[in-house]
Structure formats: C-alpha cells, structure tokens
C-alpha cells in the first residue's frame, strides 16, 4: 500500500506520471505524484474535492503544463510536445468534460459527428451510421435532432460521452462521468465503459467520487490527497485498506488527514467571541 504503483502495472503503462509538481494560484496541487495508468485497463482517480483530479486530466491532455515532472502518454512526454504534436496526440484521446461542453449551435447528431467530420473524410452515410451507433449505446438515438439546450444535464453528459468515444480513441478520460445520472443511466454508462474496455481494449481514466460505482468498473484506483498518491490498488484493496486516508475517505468521516473545513480563521474569533471561550 505504501508503494504508489500497484502490482497491476506489470504491463507497460499507457500513461506514466513521474515526479509531478504543480502550483496553481500559490496553492500546491501536486507535490511529487507518481502513477501509472496500465494499458487496456480502467483506472480511477479518486480524492477529496480540490485535490486536483481534474487538473491531473488537464496535465495528461496538455491543456495545462506542470511546474515539474514527466507525463508520458503513449511514449510521448506531453509537456515537451509542440502544438501540432499535441493535436496529433489529442486525436487519439477522448475527453468527457465535467460540464459536457457540447457545442450549443449544433444538434446532438452534429455534436457527435463533429470529431469525425473534422478529421476524417468519410461518406455521409457512414458518418450517420457511426453516430447513430454511438448514440444508441448511450440510449439517445431518438434525441439525435434535439439541440443541446433541450437536454437535461444527464442527457447532455451521455451525448458528451458518445462524442468522446465516436472515434474509438486509445485513451478516454472521464471527468466526473456519474454526476447527474439516474440509476438506470448510471448502470448503462458503467456497462458501456466496461464494454469499451473489454471489446476494444480502450484504456480509461475515471475521475469520480462514487466509490460504489467505481468499484464496479475500475481495475486500479488511485487515491490522491495532500498533493500525493495517498493509496492505490484494486478497489477491493482500498476498501480493506487501513491507511488513515482510505479510512477517512471511504468512511466519509469529517476527522482525519483530510480537513473538511477550508482553511479559515479561528471559528470563535470569526463569530466575535473571545478565542478563550471556545
């Protein structure tokens, strides 16, 4: 448990992070993070809010450069890539945004077709078939002609998921994929993530809070807290784990290594009482 790299990482890793250090707005986000996302597996990144899980995804896709450290994706060190090389790499990565980020001027169909149209010269009926297949997989084939403004949050998320997988990328990054899904949709999305992984060998990285959902789909879980990988292993390992981090996080306790309270002045003083009466 003290070794941040799990035993599952014997196969060469698709994503390798070494000595990652990041400071954003004067706040230390990562202070020496090492982790491996094994090829063809589903890895989950978990951790308390504000520990930089989304930031980690932005590092992996080159949207944000770290202060120090290496992030190797498919053999390429992301921070040292040129803009064109970065775009070449991103063509092979699917990204599900936390807020879906659908293009509001296009229909659902055109949103999902967008990556296909931009990068491949495919005949129109093939584009149609691919898009409808992906929409069927997320249960929204019937919504193809709707505009994004007509969708609920959960539906928009599933459209964004269809868009992320439309080109069958080698790596899919999911930023909070389970938020806003009802139990039926959640089940289907979990099954979809697993199927993509099993049938196409797609590597997936999930950022999520829901341990119950994660434990059904993930092969490897990394718990990030305090700027470091606090624990890692299979979901079962973590559930059994006895490190204070895992106990607090999975037990949902307010007391522990992760403070529930955002750093603040003394409570009594803030309310105007003399500090000694506390």
């Amino acid at each position: 448990m003290s070794d941040p790299r799990p035993a599952a990482a014997v196969s060469p890793a698709l994503v390798e992070v070494r000595g990652l250090r990041t400071t954003l707005g004067g706040k230390v986000i990562f202070d020496g993070v090492d982790l491996d996302i094994p090829r063809g597996k589903v890895a989950a990144i978990m951790g308390p809010s504000g520990t930089g899980k989304t930031t980690l995804l932005r590092h992996i896709t080159g949207q944000l450069a770290p202060d120090a450290g290496k992030i190797v994706v498919d053999g390429k060190n992301v921070p040292s890539l040129s803009r064109n090389e970065l775009f070449d790499l991103r063509e092979k990565i699917g990204f599900l945004f936390q807020n879906s980020a659908l293009l509001t001027d296009f229909t659902v169909f055109e949103n999902v077709a967008f990556p296909l149209r931009q990068h491949m010269k495919l005949p129109e009926d093939l584009v149609r078939n691919i898009v409808l297949t992906k929409l069927q997989a997320v249960g929204l084939r019937g919504a193809a002609e709707l505009m994004p403004s007509e969708l609920s949050g959960g539906m928009a998320r599933r459209v964004a998921l269809a868009r992320a997988i439309v080109r069958d990328p080698m790596l899919i990054l999911y930023d909070e994929p389970f938020v806003g899904l009802d139990p039926i949709a959640l089940n289907q999305v979990l099954r979809l993530i697993r199927t993509l992984n099993d049938t196409l060998g797609i590597t997936s990285v999930l950022v999520a809070h829901e341990f119950a959902a994660v434990s059904r789909v993930a092969d490897v879980v990394y718990l990030i807290a305090g700027g470091k990988v606090a624990a890692s292993g299979t979901p079962a390992d973590l559930a059994r784990g006895d490190s204070p981090w895992t106990r607090q996080f999975f037990g949902g306790e307010a007391d522990g290594p992760v403070p529930f309270q955002y750093p603040a002045r003394d409570y009594a003083q803030d309310l105007g009482f003399p500090a000694s009466t506390r």
Partner: protein, 268 residues
C-alpha cells in the same frame, strides 16, 4: 495572454480586473492584442479548411447587418443633403451638392460610420458569442477534439470582418447618395443632371472610392480583431462577458477614429 497562444498554459484566462486599472495594464493589453493578431494570421491557412464556417460568418456579420447599415446610410445621406444644401446656398454653390456629398461619403463618412455601426452590431455579438463559448468550455472541448479554435473560431470571424466591412461601406455610400439625391433633387428642387454630372466629373475612382475601400478593409480588420480578442480573453463569468462586450465597442470606436486620422494623412 500567453494562455491564448500557448495550449500548454491554462485555457481559462486570468481573473478579471474589471476595468483596466493602470497604464501598464493597457500597454500589456495592446501587446497581447498584437500577439493575438499574429496568432490569427498564422491560423488563416489552416482556417481555409473551414471555408463553410467563414462563409457563415460573412453572412452573419455582413448580410445580417444590412438593414441597420442601409437605414443609417439613407438617413446620413438625407441629413448631409439638407445641411450641405444650406451651407452651399450661402455661397450660391448648391450645384456642387452631389460632389460634396459623395466625396464626404466615399472618403470619410462611409468607412467610419459603417465601422462604428459594425462594432455595435456585429462586434458585440462576436465578443459575446466567443465569451460564452469560452465560459461553457466549448473552446476547450474543441482543443480536446484536436480542432484548433484559432482556426475554427477566431480566423473565420476575422476574415469575415475584413470581407464584409468594405461591402457594407459600399452599400452605405450608395444609400447615402440616394438619400442626398432624395432631399436635394426630389425635395429641394436641384437639377437632376447637374447633381449627377458634377459628381461623376469630380469623383476619382482610385483616389476617392478605392481609398475609402482600403480604409474600410483596415477598419474591418481592427473591429473584428478587437471583438474576437475580447471574447477570447474574457473571464468566464457573466460580469466578464458584460465588460468584454462594452470594451469591444469602446476600443473599436477609439481605434477606428484614431486609425482614420492616420490613414487619411497617409492616403491624402
């Protein structure tokens, strides 16, 4: 600013300062805008792939501005007709009305007033549109789909501004001359033949008409650049977008009028 040019920097720009607080900030903004122009120009070859998007933007910024441009052109021409008829009648020179109206429109009023109207009509909507795309992560989503937003979003709107503005200015001039004719000839009773013949004999295509077209090309570039830049660098908040649209109009107007003076001095 580096955030705009460099994909490795955060895609969300630095938090809003609201208004520009100091001279240093203003200079930094001008420099950032100049760098942004270079980035747009560099993205123009790539944006040729999105020619349909460029055409859509020409339609949106050009064709959709026609009503306001034509209405304003007509009224500006009618006012010019009235005012200049009055002034010229003092010197007994009302026969020169067509000449004076068309020269002032071609050389000055056409390009400048069109640019100011364009900033209000098309510039603000460009800024608000891009600002909202930024706030809802659509720009970041394009980046993640390996579609360069500089080529897909910024460059088409810039090109559309450069193409649409001279066309709009020509329409403005046409309606302006028509308005002056309406007032001068149909209402105040000037001779129709004198109005047109004096105009055609003293307006030079290259010195007057084409110079005006150059001006409006430059104004189109400046207004579109400012609009796209403000939208692209706006903080992703409702207040940020509000400030950005205001700044688009304010900065566009100032720069257009200043540039007009410089260009007039050089094109004289």
């Amino acid at each position: 600013m580096s955030s705009v040019l460099d994909p490795k920097k955060p895609t969300t720009p630095a938090p809003s300062r609201g208004e520009l607080s100091s001279l240093g900030d203003s200079i930094a903004q001008v420099g950032a805008c100049a760098l942004f122009l270079l980035a747009i120009l560099a993205a123009v070859p790539k944006s040729l792939r999105y020619i349909k998007e460029t055409i859509r933007q020409i339609w949106f910024t050009g064709a959709m501005s026609l009503v306001i441009i034509m209405t304003c052109g007509l009224f500006v021409g009618m006012v010019l007709g009235l005012q200049l008829y009055y002034v010229l009648s003092i010197f007994g020179g009302t026969a020169a009305l067509g000449t004076v109206v068309s020269l002032s429109l071609y050389r000055e009023l056409g390009p400048v007033v069109t640019a100011l109207l364009f900033a209000g009509r098309a510039g603000t909507s460009i800024t608000a549109e891009i600002g909202l795309m930024r706030a809802t992560d659509q720009i970041a989503a394009m980046e993640m789909m390996a579609v360069d937003p500089m080529a897909y979003v910024a460059a088409p709107r810039f090109i559309a501004g450069v193409i649409a503005m001279p066309l709009l200015a020509c329409v403005f001039n046409m309606l302006g001359i028509f308005g002056a004719h309406l007032v001068g000839v149909s209402w105040l009773g000037l001779d129709n033949g004198t109005f047109w013949s004096n105009m055609t004999s003293s307006v030079d295509v290259w010195k007057d008409v084409v110079n005006g077209v150059w001006k409006s090309c430059a104004f189109g570039a400046v207004v579109a650049l400012i609009a796209v830049f403000q939208g692209y660098t706006t903080p992703p908040t409702s207040e940020g977008v509000a400030y950005a649209t205001t700044r688009t109009v304010v900065f566009s107007s100032i720069v257009v009028l200043a540039l007009d003076f410089v260009m007039t001095a050089f094109l004289m």
